[in-house]
Amino acid sequence: MSDSGKKFNIKSLIYGFLSFMLGFVLFLLSICLVLRLTFFSQDFMLDSMANTGYYEMVKDELCDKLKNLGHASGLPDEFFDDFVDDIDIVEVERNYVSAFYTDVSTLVDTDTFKQELMDAINVYIDEKNIDKEKAKEENLGYFIDEASSIYVKSVTVSFFSILANYINKLDSPLRMTEIGLGAAALIIAAIIFFTNRYVHRRYRYLTYGLGGGFLSVIVIPIVVFASGIIPKVNLTTRSLYNLFVGYFNSMFMYFWIFSAILLFLAVLCFFVYRTKYLKAIGD
């Protein structure tokens, strides 16, 4: 092999490696950006709650559970129909989720709930002329504590407190990683672009890297959806189940979007390469 041939092969290997690194960096950057736009986004969580009908279902479930408590407490179902309608679940849930993302106290405020319930029971006792002997304060307190516990369990999202802990801890490192990967992608692309003498070769190596990145990113949602694992999650309530499935379906939708962006860029680079290549042959 001639010296120029060897040189060409080494150069090809170096640029091939740079293309691979570009693909790898783009793959990691896509994952980080998907996490940023979904897992680490308060708006995404709130949108998922709204889109999956979470608020309405939590309200129904809370009403159902309180009615069950009412069966053990001598309160009719109608009492809770009226009472739960007055509770603004949307506001309570929004405050609950916001608290995690803003790292403030995440305890659900039960004071308002307790006060409203106590007021509603007192009104009910007066309306029905119930003997005060049959509604002892001690039992009322016991009932309100039980109802309050049901309320807290209904409005809190299972495992969210654990996940939110990671969200708060990993927010800054993720931001630094995104910046680092973005810079690395730009530097690698710049090296490929500015160190190649021939214009068409610049686009060829960029196409390899973007193509590799596209395939790697698209594999993730394909594997997840093909395995069908998301709808098989074991969650006790319908509201949580729907929220989980809706949340992760939307999350993996972002992988499709990022892979589509990478595919578009790869195709664009390929056509520029073809144009430049044909021009170079013509010259």
């Binding site: 293309s19 408590l69 001598g74 509604a135 039992n139 009322l140 999650v233 074991n234 309530t237």
Partner: protein, 239 residues
Amino acid sequence: MDENQSSNRLISGMNFIILPVIFCILILAISAALVYPYANEFAEMSKTYFTDRDIDIPSDCYDIFVPADGDSEEPEVKSVMDSKPQEQRTIPLSSISYPYYGQRLGELIVEDCQIYASLYFGDGNNELNNGVGMYTGGYIPGYGKTVMIAGHNNTDFNGFKYAKKGQKVIIRTYYGTYTYEITDIQVKTSTDSSAYDFSLNYENLIMYTCYPFDELNLTPYRCFVYAKFVSGPVIDKND
């Protein structure tokens, strides 16, 4: 020469497919190697959270542990009339299909207290909303051990405010009819574990409900009604 050129172009063109595929395989292999120690742990843990069956929660069901209306089968309950000679007979354990949680087991009747309630296996909200519920940590009638049944004091077990020693309790199940006799009535707190004993080796029935009766709101007290076994087919556990 032309042939060489076209061959080189073909190889060069194939690179646009082959190289991204190779890159993809390498990227995923490296990523998998990097996350393997954590992924393996996560995969093991996820088995707890994921099932291998399809989940379909009906729209009228808010909780997967509570069957939607109409889901529970109604087993055929033998009437008291059918049970004439069978009280003293023995039935092999293998001939009984053990009830599942939420299944309607039969009926509980205390005529003197005007109690006529559907009896369910399990004492969750769904069961107690529809009748009285048998504690699944206890035993079924005929097993020769402690049977424990709960009910609401404002509905099905409200009649226990008239309970007295010597009154008859009849439990009709799909495998036989059992008769018990009330021996004692006690009020205890809900956390008092001395109110029941599942280690007893003789058939006995404990029924309990909130106390006082007709009270508004929850109470921490329970009324326990104890009954001794009188008659009914005995389950042969050695079969």
